[in-house]
Subunit: 437 residues, 2 copies
């Protein structure tokens, strides 16, 4: 009997996930004594990482304590080769070994990573240049039109069922929420984010909006439903678009929304607003000038543009493991590079807001739901996949908490537009978040 469509889909999801995430080397448990130079390597590695409060437990049970003070976390290394990979390229190997089960963490994973990021951030100022070069992310993926399609499908086409396990149930938002109040639920905070974005765009009924990268289409539906605007939303993830269109039909919003399966570079027409939430990370530096020219072209003279993206305090390559295993081709711009997009188009930047800790909180909510559903995830894919995603979510919490990543919302207009809001008070007159449902 031929497998059903759903079964086929699940099979191909599994293949995609395991093809990309699995390490070529299998874990090979050994229990020989560690050599003295292996102990030296561990100590040296920890010194390069700024001597964080971490101890190592080696494959034979030997424990190497931190250089000073008490250990708050323990890293278990299952075999000598794991140690060698870690020394050769810690950025890449840490995630790979964790996913393979050959590096295990005792203690809270996100807290360990935050401690490590803070420690490494301070210590790397003193690294010799060759070490920085050796350990940096080599050969990140390109982001031309065909590569972008692969990059995006690698991640976003893992299956809607998977993302539904841990994203919010309101609008399937896979971007930073807005915790207007610290105790909001994930659903409330995601709706507050959508509302906050709409307010920044100063939407009015009848306006036209173009959206670059629409995920599962939640923002487009929110804008159409709450503000009565007409939206063109572009995306190259087929799975997401199928979901988006179905929801818009169900909600009777399809006369206001056109979901377009195409690259953002093919956007045509002119609109009262340009919005992109969580796509810029995938655009790549080489394409910033073209993106700027695109916005220039398709924004009405009095239109407002908003870009919402993960960013950095200063230019830095994407973490190698995230870029290779999770988000191929991803690059979060520094705030200066981000402003370069605006400068290129001679735009006037009206408003920049940094929601860094909101993303840490969003990810904490995602992680809690993911953790509850780990068994299901393992059933859908396998244990390797589950560990990789646990590492990715925990690492992201840590990166936003430690300040290695930022979340910028940038609002800008054409440089000669004088129809500007008097101030930003209108964003704050009523709560952006709905009451608890």
């Amino acid at each position: 009997m031929a497998p059903s469509t759903a079964e086929k889909q699940e099979h191909s999801d599994k293949e995609r996930a395991s093809h990309i995430l699995r390490l070529p080397l299998d874990a090979t448990r050994v229990d020989r004594e560690p050599h003295s130079y292996e102990r030296w390597m561990v100590a040296k590695l920890m010194r390069m990482a700024g001597s964080p409060p971490i101890c190592f437990r080696l494959w034979n049970g030997d424990v190497i304590p931190p250089e000073s003070g008490e250990a708050r976390f323990t890293l278990y290394l299952a075999d000598p080769k794991a140690l060698y990979s870690l020394v050769a390229n810690p950025n890449l190997a840490f995630g790979d070994l964790y996913s393979a089960g050959r590096l295990q963490v005792e203690g809270d994973l996100a807290e360990l990573l935050e401690t490590l990021y803070r420690s490494v951030h301070a210590a790397r100022q003193k690294w010799p240049r060759w070490l920085d070069t050796l350990w940096r992310n080599h050969n990140p993926r390109a982001t031309g039109i065909p590569e972008a399609k692969e990059n995006i499908q690698h991640h976003y086409d893992l299956g809607n069922a998977f993302y539904q396990l841990w994203l919010d149930h309101a609008e399937m938002q896979y971007t930073c929420a807005y915790y207007e109040q610290p105790d909001l639920s994930l659903e409330q905070a995601q709706l507050a984010k959508l509302e906050h974005v709409c307010r920044k765009l100063r939407l009015k009924p009848g306006m036209t909006v173009v959206e670059a990268g629409c995920g599962w289409g939640g923002l487009a539906r929110y804008m159409a439903r709450q503000y009565g605007v007409r939206v063109h939303s572009y995306n190259i993830s087929r799975e997401q678009l199928a979901y988006a269109r179905e929801r818009a039909r169900e909600q009777g919003l399809d006369h206001l929304i056109t979901y377009v399966e195409d690259d953002y570079r093919n956007i045509e027409g002119q609109y009262d607003a340009f919005v992109s939430v969580g796509m810029l990370e995938h655009v790549g530096k080489d394409n910033y000038a073209a993106l700027s020219e695109l916005i220039k072209r398709c924004l009405n003279p009095e239109g407002i543009a908003l870009l919402h993206s993960i960013g950095r305090n200063r230019p830095m390559l994407m973490n190698a493991w995230i870029e290779k295993r999770i988000f191929p081709g991803a690059y979060p711009p520094s705030i200066g590079e981000f402003m370069g997009i605006c400068e290129h188009g001679d735009f006037s930047v009206l408003d920049v807001e940094n929601l860094r800790l909101h993303y840490a909180q969003t990810l904490t909510h995602w992680m809690a739901r993911f953790t509850e559903n780990e068994d299901k995830v393992t059933d859908m894919y396998d244990a390797h996949f589950t560990r990789a995603w646990r590492m990715y979510l925990a690492g992201s919490i840590a990166a936003f908490r430690a300040g290695s990543l930022q979340l910028f919302q940038v609002v800008f207009t054409h440089g000669d537009n004088n129809l500007l809001p008097q101030n930003r008070g209108d964003l704050y007159t009523t709560p952006a978040a709905p009451g608890e449902a």
Copy 2:
């Protein structure tokens, strides 16, 4: 009889003003017929400026209409040499000729300049590179410690009595006000600006603040009075400091405020907040890295920094006339260059707000008061000085309206500071402006 101190002061103010602002060439009225190539030069000049709706009236009464459409403004040129200066270096000569009375404007000066700036901004994309080079601002003044002192004294030590004629009567603010509501008075809007800045710094009683460039000390007094913080304020303008200290004594705030006559580069100590309103324009690009390192050094780990400065949408030299005659050494950074200051210090940018049109409105208020007091200004200095300042104020209104200048308020913290405000709603809970006095 020896002149009194006040007379001496007035005399030296006059000398300073006339020394720097007067053109070497005197106006030499002629009434000969213009040559045909002189008419050609006018037409060519207007074409390079994008054919704005301006007609020229020449020294003999001949009128040259705009290339197309009706003229909204008339420029009167008093002599042929005025035309040659204008062609050779319009950026510099326009202001110089206007100040000398050899170029006169029929129609609203600020509106003419706005029209011209918008027209030139569009037209210059098509200029040959040599023209841009020829007309650019050559040899702007340096901004090292000794030059900075001269630059600042040139402008800010013109005499407090002069600035009191047209600045607000509340706190002598010579920076962009905050028109929270469009109908605020200048005084209300300046107090609202001070309040808005304090809210962005999240000041609490007992905190310590360092201020780089304090003008007449109004922000320091506002912070001490309204928020009970201790302030160290640096300035190198002696006239401003004398005024600032006297006011602080009168108001019984001198136990909370130390006004320091020194360059910002000599700031010492660590503070809960770093603030600079309207000084960055004078710092100069070469000193941005040092400024960043200074803030890094003197901001407490949980401190907040705020820089408020005129800026640009993209890097561009300061207008030659403003830089040479009004603000020697001035350079407004592009938003990207501004962010470069934050990147250099590994700071996290929390908030950028652009108050461009607020500066146009502030300047419109200043210009109205200046216009009412022109006779007094001419008595204090001379007619040349009065025309130069009229040109400077009108040109600034035009630059902010046309979008050639921006006003950025940028808030940032150390990159690893997690004690951040939940959102920006606290800036908007109550009006920042006081009720009408």
